[in-house]
Amino acid sequence: MGDTLLDIAMMHADNLIARAKEGDQHAQGKVVQLWYKRIYNFCYKFFLDHDLAMEVSQKTFISMCKNLPALQDNARFKSWLYKIAVNYCREEVRRRKGTRSVSFEAVWSRDVEDSPKWESTSHKMDNPERQLQQRELSDVLQGALLELNNEQREVVIMKEYEGLKFREIAEVLNISENTVKSRMYYGLDGLRKILERKKITKETIGYGF
């Protein structure tokens, strides 16, 4: 994930959050720096759009700085922060529905562009090519993620990529833990079907984990 152990340790430091809560701008800036990448990546996977992800992340952190003093339990900072992000994401989705705008990504047929190349280069292990392949694979997988409905996508991203516990996700979304697990189950099931349709399996990728 690119975070140093120190950063991860810092992210959960109650001390830092407590100072940020008291209005220490330096601490607030540090919190933003520590968490920005996480929130940005969550939003990016949700929209698959850099600009939107940046916008929503910034909104999230502005809101965080404003409302931090209202946070009661420092231990719940993580789920609280994701809650803000999820709400802004949903707001954005509603707004985009209203304006009926279509993002460039949606018009650009990624599948048609990518899949032939992707299949032809499947078993090559060259380093630059593999990097390219890696990027393409990442894009395809995220495309598959985008095909899930919003509810399932939120849960899958938070669990699979953000590593939140089911209890935390339930807190973020204000639903029961069983509902979270159920959404996760159907989300993963859906993803599997989408990937099967795209003929992407562990074998076609060509390298195991």
Binding site: M1, G2, G23, Q25, Q28, G29, V32, Q33, Y36, K37, Y40, N41, Y44, K45, H50, M54, Q58, F61, I62, C65, K66, Q134, L137, S138, L141, Q142, L145, K159, E160, Y161, K165, F166, E177, N178, K181, S182, M184, Y185, L188, L191, R192, L195, I200, T201, K202, I205, G208, F209
Partner: protein
């Protein structure tokens, strides 16, 4: 175990969030159910595939929020207050430059450019109905007229009174003068005599006057009573006459009736007599 429970346990197991007894029982369940094992394996593979999605590197943009001074300037109420003040200032400046005048009087707001136009106000003054001041004025004039009339009658009576008083005074003063002149010569007895005489004179005068007026009143009341008695007499006479005439006519009527009955009786008797004679003849 129902399917929902299995699904959630499967998911929890997949992410290593199943612990203790639950974990053991689920592992047992997996051993008993190859389909469940297969599903779990599929999910594991999916996870490893999805694990290829890498985080995008991003640099956090600077976010400044906690600046209280900044907040003060951005506070909505401050903005509105400042904007209102600014617009007022602009209006005042513009008004000053174009020489606009706003005047509020008599429940009327008038705006004008340059000096206030007088004819307009004059024209306006002819239009309105009676103002309270005018009504007051009318009341005052009528009151004044009344006062003047009253004053005139008053002054008239005053003059008359004055005249009579003056004449009396003149008379009395003349008498007093005489008296004084006499008193210079005459004794106090004479003065007393004169005073008593004057008193008796006055008494006589008042008595006479009272008698006169009481006589007049008596006469008037007597005449009134007499008239009334006369009227009543007349009325009674009239009534009596009416009754008399009624009685007379009744008498006449009865007389006529008597005569008629007599005639009828005589005629009946005669006819009966004739019949009898005829019968005897037959």
């Amino acid at each position: 175990m129902d399917s929902k429970g299995i699904e959630s346990d499967l998911i929890a197991y997949l992410y290593g969030e199943l612990e203790g007894k639950e974990k053991e029982s689920f592992e047992q369940y997996l051993l008993d159910n190859p389909e469940a094992r297969e599903e779990l394996e599929k999910f594991k593979q999916l996870r490893s595939v999805m694990g290829n999605v890498k985080d995008k590197e991003v640099i956090a943009p600077p976010i400044f929020v906690g600046d209280h001074h900044q907040r003060f300037w951005n506070a909505p109420y401050f903005k509105t207050v400042v904007s209102i003040a600014a617009s007022l200032l602009v209006i005042m400046l513009v008004g000053k430059f174009i020489g606009m005048k706003v005047k509020y009087s008599d429940n009327q707001l008038s705006m004008s450019f340059g000096s206030i136009v007088e004819p307009y106000i004059e024209a306006r003054q002819t239009i309105p109905a009676l103002t309270s001041a005018q009504v007051q004025e009318m009341i005052n004039t009528s009151l004044n007229q009344n006062n003047i009339a009253m004053q005139a009658s008053w002054s008239e009576t005053q003059e008359k009174l004055d005249a009579s008083v003056k004449s009396n005074l003149a008379l009395n003063s003349a008498k007093i003068d005489n008296l004084v002149r006499e008193s210079s010569a005459a004794s106090q007895e004479q003065i007393q005599q004169f005073v008593s005489g004057l008193q008796t004179e006055n008494m006589q005068l008042v008595k006479n006057y009272f008698q006169l007026t009481s006589n007049e009143q008596k006469q008037y009341i007597e005449s009134l009573l007499v008239d009334f008695a006369k009227y009543l007499q007349q009325q009674r006479n009239d009534d009596l006459q009416v009754v008399q005439t009624k009685l007379n006519s009744l008498e006449q009527n009865t007389d006529v009736f008597k005569q008629e009955t007599e005639q009828i009786l005589t005629s009946i008797i005669s006819t009966v007599g004739n019949k009898k004679s005829l019968g005897t003849r037959n």
